[in-house]
Amino acid sequence: MSNVPQTPYPGYDVLDTWNSSSWNDATREVVDRRLREVPERRFLSEDHYATLEAVVARLVPQPDRPGDPVPIAPWLDHRLDTDGGEGFRKASVPPQREGWPQGLRALDAEARARHGAPFTALGAEQQDALLHRVQQGEVQQGEVEGEPWVGLPPDTFFSDVLSAALGVYYAHPAAWSEIGFGGPASPRGYVRLGADQRDPWEAEPRQTR
């Protein structure tokens, strides 16, 4: 099986409807800015940012876009820089501007303790295995020098980063196109709502399906 995900909607690009009545000015403005104004790193240290980039590349791999991936890490750094997000946090979890750097540091410490190398230097399989353990909360608490996970539940850290990364990736028109989402729809909306029905401007599935 190919490692490269195959979209059921080859040839569909939601941006082809840009000039249609499916896009109002407010939508064009925000999506245009999203595509053109990718923020610079401002919050995380260079090391933490490199770790975050490596993590995101495993959480949302994009082998189908070599050299031109949907940018995710810059927006996550921007989220920390502006302290954006949903605002609430569990009582057992530090604020994100403290928790994320700690988690990235802990992940790197975990990689060094297990493999003698920083997270960014590990192979994809080793990275995935390590991330899987973090997702399950099975970190080497106490065995890693400095106990970097103290006060930070690893599974919550994992799901917070994953959720935020998905919030960035699936806000990108490239992601809308690959899943066949109709995208912006104001003021035109839709007419055909039934099963196996689509309006002419919606994604057409591959014939073999």
Binding site: A91, S163, A185
Partner: protein, 548 residues
């Protein structure tokens, strides 16, 4: 939307935005009051409770100022068809969530802006089952409300008329009722999955009575089925408080004060409220009022009362019972999802178009309370996050699974949880940027709640399989907030009486979902608006009798 709207008030100098105009400068005239002008009512919050009450009181001739922490949106020109860009519709101030089952806040159950969370609600407009108002005495669990269904029925009708609810000719559950004002919307493919499953599994189903137009209403057009309802309606088909009660309130002489964050209800030496202290345009102000109504919903209402503590009220205002913040409820929002053979494309149309209230009205079950289950239509970000969170998928496995987005169907419940006083809102030690202590929200399911959730998951699996879905999986979650300042008949066990008037401070009122003693198995917004209509009429009646 520009950042300006999040910082610069729009309703001032005698003008408020004309929400029905595509001209981003268009305004309607607005009566304004000076801070030292003692108005009849200062209302804190303009959502389903406060916005509705502002209209009712202004139309009754009272001098009303309604303050909201959020902006005054112009839906036609501000709102993008985009999940991420619309995040400012949610209340995302810092909050701590705790307990055995800490609830998700933020986009899950709060709104910020004139119109409150009705800006992004899914428009489901259901009445409570009549027995739920006396669930202790008639069904044997939880608490009785201090009023009966018959007290509220005329106000349900009033709210349904005001919102031009589009609903079925014959709704299968509840007492006989007259027709909904507007015809029902034709169910989308995702709605018909529920219908097919219910017919095969033997449950009655119906089109959901929805607060989105199926025919024109004033200057608002019918729904175009764009599907971004949870990200704000950019066509005004959605009958949010912003485009229904608020324009009426303005026309009747109410002032709506946007981007005005109320930090304290002030009380005088006689123990009566004297007004509110609010932050706007970078400075603190003080609006004097003969009466204060708190309508900030189940977290901010108790938070404000607790943050308004004084020497005379050391535990917070209206808190002699110790119940301010207690009895916080959510709805269990468990879901079941699966893959269909046909394309559903659930991004089109209102996300919730059909439902079954079977288990709200059938009492042959192993748990107290009830639940409705409803069809679903999440947008990509919400969907991706739910799959990741509930199925544990990430990486290429997740990307591949999400490529079947257009073949997904699902059901979710709105399930009643028991009111427990240990589930509550308190003040954390931390303070926000304005120096106000932030809320700490504790929630844990009871054993009965867990039985309800398990029962509901079985029902939804059965129904979704019967509809032809495969590869089923289950999702956890909660929706809505209710309780936190319950109404009641006894000052020892409640915060207000049936009129929302606090027992302790005679000119301090509450008018929002925090009044709910129990949550029922339906979305709360219509009941909140009906309660607000009733409270408005009760206040008017009492004023005429000299009882204010």
């Amino acid at each position: 939307m520009t950042d300006d709207i999040l910082t610069t008030p729009r309703a001032c100098e005698g003008r408020a935005p004309d929400v029905f105009s595509a001209d981003p400068e268009a305004c309607v005239p607005m009566r304004t009051y000076a801070d030292d002008d003692e108005v009849d009512f200062a209302i804190v919050g303009t959502g389903a409770g406060g916005g509705t009450l502002a209209c009712k009181l202004a139309e009754a001739g009272f001098r009303v100022v309604a303050l909201d922490a959020g902006p005054f949106w112009r839906p036609l020109t501000d709102f993008a068809s985009d999940e991420r860009a619309q995040e400012p519709l949610y209340w995302t101030d810092e909050r701590i969530t705790a307990g055995d089952d800490p609830i998700e806040l933020g986009s899950n159950n709060s709104g910020r802006g004139v119109g409150g969370s009705t800006l992004h609600f899914t428009m489901v407009s259901l009445r409570f089952r009549p027995e739920w108002f006396q669930s202790r005495s008639r069904l044997g669990y939880a608490l009785d409300w201090p009023l009966a269904y018959d007290d509220l029925a005329p106000y349900y009708t009033e709210a349904e008329d005001a919102l031009k609810i589009s609903g079925p000719v014959r709704y299968p559950w509840g007492p006989p009722r007259r027709r909904y004002p507007y015809r029902p919307h034709e169910p989308s493919a995702s709605g018909l999955v529920l219908a097919r499953g219910c017919e095969r599994a033997g449950y009655a189903w119906a089109s959901v009575p929805l607060a989105t137009l199926s025919a024109p209403h004033g200057r608002a057009h019918p729904c175009v089925y764009r599907g971004f309802c949870a990200a704000g309606c950019s066509t005004n088909a959605k009958q949010s408080v912003l485009v229904t009660w608020i324009p009426r309130a303005l026309a009747a002489g109410a002032e709506i004060r946007d981007l005005a964050f109320v930090g304290q209800v002030e009380t005088g030496g006689d123990g009566r409220a004297t007004g509110v202290v609010y932050h706007r345009d970078g400075a603190w102000h003080r609006q004097r009022a003969r009466h204060v109504v708190v309508a900030g919903y189940s977290i901010e209402t108790p938070r404000l009362l607790l943050n308004s503590a004084t020497g005379a009220f050391p535990d917070g205002l209206a808190n002699s019972s110790g119940l301010v913040g207690a009895g916080l409820m959510v709805h269990a929002n468990d879901g079941v999802y699966g893959t269909m053979d046909e394309e559903i494309r659930w991004y089109k149309g209102p996300p919730v178009m059909t439902l079954s209230e079977h288990w709200n009205y059938c009492d042959d079950k192993d748990f107290p309370g009830g639940y409705a289950f409803m069809s679903q239509g999440p947008l990509p970000i919400a969907w991706a996050q739910s799959v990741a969170q509930n199925r544990g998928l990430w990486g290429l496995d997740l990307r591949r699974y999400l490529m079947d987005y257009n073949r997904m169907a699902g059901l979710k419940i709105v399930g009643e949880v028991e009111p427990q006083d240990a589930n509550r809102v308190e003040l954390a030690d931390a303070e926000d940027a304005l120096g106000l202590r932030i809320p700490r929200v504790s929630f844990s399911y009871s054993a009965n709640d867990r039985r309800l959730k398990a029962h509901a998951r079985r029902t939804m699996r059965e129904t979704l399989s019967a509809a032809g879905a495969r590869d089923l999986w289950e999702a956890d979650g909660t929706a809505h907030l209710m309780g936190g300042c319950r109404m009641g008949s006894d000052p020892a066990t409640s915060v207000t009486n049936a009129d929302g008037r606090t027992w302790d401070v005679p000119n301090l009122w509450i008018c929002d979902g925090s009044l709910f003693p129990t949550g029922g198995g339906v979305n709360p917004s219509l009941t909140i608006q009906a309660l607000a209509c009733r409270i408005g009429d009760r206040i008017t009646t009492m004023a005429h009798r000299g009882e204010l």
